[in-house]
Symmetry: D2
Subunit: 378 residues, 4 copies
């Protein structure tokens, strides 16, 4: 069986999630390739060595350039901060590696386009870590829509709200600076919901009218808390959408949305039904079908079960739950199978670039106070 | 005790709701005036007589003009179809009557302005039937916001979605024609959510970017079901809002939103908390406060209880429920007390006109594909 | 149309609820008789007069004996404290009046039996105010069961928990004394759930194994708060049931169940489905059908709508809500129609007596620590 | 670092869950010992070899006796059917191994007692797989109770209902036979809820009054579906409990409870609050505190977050979800740490035996129709 040897860069918040999923994936799924946790890069050799041991990687390095060049690596997994994605991905591609990058793909649409082009020329596979769409509940939503169970989609409402920056005393970090993060809530959270919209509606966002605000204008300097530094990007944003299919949509994202801990959600209205979902109850989906008997209509709560996509690999009993790292495990199954079997991966860098275009269009629309065609964004 | 003698025009859907509330109000509340169900008008004398008997009114007439001119009437209550509101209200005002009209106030902002002006000149009191804001749960939401319990409001999301026209086989009725209804979902349902936004946010909508669609373009002619007639106004609409205070808002309305039977709802985000509500569970409000202890934060479900506004008059035990007609009963309490005590009523015709301006601004924005200042609408 | 002239005794908590329902009923329903709010009795003539005016009754008296003897009264409605039910009912029956009594029917099964017998001999109609079973959601549950939509019932779980006595500082009142209330939580709340069990399961409770406790043994004397008085009946109780049909059941009741404001609820399991309900969301019912398609099974939330029993009289749009007093209005419709049309009323005194037997059996079982056949209770 | 070498017997439903957890645990937690997936036993050498490869075990055997005797095994993990637990555990103990067994511990209390005694004499550690109590949400419930946040516990209501046998066409399997499973729903599901009761209430069940039924008396023979075989144990059971502390409790369990897919849940009432939980929403806990401000009381939905026990190891962001296998991962952390650090494990065989006694007491009580003291069961 072909090996798929992974080099992981970064073991912070999301890097740890990847590591848990790498450990779990081969036991959960009958993978098409042999997954090898080959090498791990961190900012110092010491940290890298410690993390390699605790996360189950064979080798470690304090220099990510060494990792991307290593001949025993098949795929480079980028879990470093946003501003490094581009440089790392281009270097990995230059060495002929497949690249698996966390979202957002890059700080700008232009950078993303460069990465797409480099990967295309090199003929390597790419995957972006939009893990929420890998959740079986959301795969089920897609299945229901694709089968026409709610008729034709006529409206999409999506949110990705969290409150991790709701407290004004939370110090400024890289998320709040343009040079390290690019956009604020839109880039960090909104990216997920645009990808979700593409996936679920089955059509791309064509034009947008957006608005956004920074609510907490200054935050403590993490190195000198009594000093305040300016927040450089938006705390909240929302937009009207039109999809290429003509469907109307609406999205909302915020990093200061008090009470929303994992407030990714959607309500998708069709001509004959409706789907409603919130990631805070990630193992259930609500489904309404207008064709049900009079007097017996209503939203039905579907609990994930063995009939639904990818759930049975974790547990064959219905309703037994599904966890955050489990959806990443599905993503890694896709990665390994795609590389081993030579089949396409999605969401790939091109999708990452498309999402970036929509986000930039929203930001531009908010500035110009008018609708923007996504195609205008280069 | 001063009498408040009511003349009710129209006993269809909402007229019956008024009649139930009139019957209930004097027993529920210690009213400041003596409510008298004096006269009722319907389209024929026979129907009027039958309805007066079953709804408990003293007299009946088949001619509303007789009612508005009757000297024994203090307030004219207009529950006729939208296109008649203006004519009836102006006639009532001309006879010096107070006017209580169902929403939307008129078919156009211009008409609404005329009604406001006539009432102002005549010095009569006016009230518009935005009954959802009278629900104790929503009054509680306002109280929580006004007391600063969720900090400063930073975002408003509101919906009024229903599915009463979701079935394409449902025949065309007056709601779907411009000359009888004006706007579609926006006028019928959106009006409530704009009024709600004004009430809860405590600031008026200043500008909007809207979008709208007619999804079911033709419907059966009710008189010849095999013939299809064009639907003349929108099935669904949504908009971004900016309030005068600078707060960002978003609304959504639809009459074909499968599964939403009474889908009026809101999520109001503040700097230190959040409120969430849906009219389908009209006796509960969800409240999140970010200052709660770490590890003990979460949305709390408040059931209406005697400490909350206007609930105790119906039942002094908490959580015992609240019904659709009960909120209209609160509205009628306001009407009677306002007239008897000479105190102001709200939402008055001016608010009806303001709501109309916002709705027209949304429709214009959808057409022009740009933000519209509400002040531009005359 | 035949008149149904009501004499109401008591205008406290539940008496006010009756009064609101009397005001509402003739407008909501096309009653088969003409409901007349004829006379009202309270503890003093002054209070009676005040209440008659505010509650819309024609006459008032400070002596309930005068009311039960009045020739212009057709039905006596007893909303006085429990310990008076028997004396008042027997007096009313002696004057040939129909009797409508609040629950629990009497302080003991023996007293209840006497009342049943007196009514039977006099040939008068009786009704007990088990209003929760009149709620359209619960009527819908019964309809679903009766039609076999969940197969054969195999298990009943019912609760009526509240927390009105949860605070130990709440003074002792008549609910806590044997001579004025008889049983504690069982009598006040448990009565509802036993009646509900009979209604929904469609079979009577045949035997019980119960347990009960007084948790707060002493409470402040309301007249001298620093003095503590003993609580004489149970704060909480629960029991296993066997119905005559062989079905297993379980109930739970408490007046100190923190957080349950109106915690009447049930879960009814059938061989092919399940129904779940809580009175705190009194306008919705959850329904599961095991025959639904694989992968599309789940509990469906049914909102009350015009297809459901008795809802349309209040509002013809689905999901618009239903209130506490509305279910009493349904009960009063039953009362008036039953008397005017000469048709049977239910739950009648016999059902009140049957419920009392079950409650006494639970109390006896708790004492003897063994199963008790309900028939043993006389 | 000390090695903890595991020998796993059985890779069916729950064995796979263990295997996923073994893969995940060392990456999720900083374990105190080095976990080694040393050997796996299945019913044939071929199956064992295949499973060892896919589940990541070093060695395989078709003979579990070889595994329990292997000198390179520190702990034997028994995931075989119930009727084999005793024999395997005694053999493992005879070889001085620690034993980690799935529930129920044995087919009878007597067998369980023998296992407890053997382990005690051998001085080996034991752990029973009551994984639901390892879920952070339930650990949080325990923490809240232990800190007195809901006052003194006064009532426990617990369920473990599922519907895996609801369909009468589901063939008879070992769960339905006395010689292979012992009890039915009580043994398979009820065991969890009794353990949960002990854990959460902090007191042991002292006496019970139970009832039970077999609803589907015959099921198809899996080898000849047209032939029906008798079901030998109960489909549903429920019981009243008294804890040693005097607290009243109630439990309910069923394997034919239509619609309950993972219907383990509890409502725990205290003198100053209440906790409510259902495993179908395993990442949230509802908490009510009676001391909250008047008008601001209500059940609060706590989403698991980094402040709660054991959640942060999986994800440091609140509300991001928790899965079925994750709670088993917590259990395995306890196993490895307990063995490596020499600290006590819980729930151990003694707890397994205590649970067995309660279950047998319920079954005996159902037969005798009277309360049974748990101590009577030997």
């Amino acid at each position: 069986m072909q090996q798929v040897r992974v080099g992981l860069i970064g073991t912070g918040y999301i890097g740890r999630c990847h590591a848990i999923a790498y450990a779990q994936a081969p036991v959960v799924f009958p993978l098409k390739g042999q997954l090898v946790r080959e090498m791990l890069a961190e900012v110092t050799p010491e940290l890298a060595a410690r993390q390699a041991e605790s996360l189950g990687f064979n080798r470690a390095t304090g220099d990510w350039r060494e990792l991307v060049a290593d001949p025993a690596i098949d795929v480079v997994d980028i879990c470093a901060p946003n501003f490094l994605h581009k440089e790392m991905a281009l270097a990995a591609i230059a060495h002929g590696k497949h690249v698996y990058s966390e979202k957002p793909l890059a700080l700008s649409t232009r950078d993303a386009a460069e990465m797409v082009e480099a990967a295309r020329r090199a003929g390597v596979k790419t995957l972006v870590g939009f893990n929420y769409m890998k959740n079986p509940a959301t795969q089920l939503a897609r299945q229901i829509i694709a089968r026409g169970e709610i008729g034709e989609v006529v409206h999409f409402y999506g949110t990705h709200n969290e409150d991790y920056m709701a407290n004004p005393a939370t110090p400024l970090d890289w998320h709040c600076r343009k040079d390290s993060a690019g956009l604020g809530a839109l880039g960090d959270l909104g990216a997920h919901i645009i990808n979700m919209a593409h996936y679920l509606v089955g059509s791309r966002v064509a034009s947008v009218s957006g608005d956004m605000q920074t609510i907490i204008g200054e935050r403590p300097d993490p190195r000198a808390p009594s000093r305040l530094l300016p927040v450089e990007n938006e705390d909240q944003a929302h937009a009207l959408l039109r999809f290429e299919s003509g469907v109307m949509g609406q999205i909302e994202t915020s990093r200061i949305a008090c009470g929303r801990k994992m407030g990714l959600g959607y309500v998708i209205t069709g001509t004959r039904g409706c789907i409603s979902y919130t990631q805070e109850r990630m193992a259930e989906l609500k489904l309404y079908r207008h064709d049900d008997d009079q007097g017996r209509q209503g939203f039905k709560t579907l609990l994930l079960g063995p009939e639904h996509p990818d759930y049975a690999a974790f547990c064959i009993s219905a309703g037994h739950g599904f966890g955050f790292n489990d959806q990443k495990t599905v993503e890694i199954r896709d990665l390994v199978d795609g590389i081993a079997a030579g089949s396409p991966l999605w969401p790939d860098f091109e999708e990452g670039w498309r999402v970036s275009r929509v986000l930039d269009a929203i930001a531009l629309s908010a500035e110009r106070r008018q609708w923007i065609h996504v195609e205008e964004i280069q």
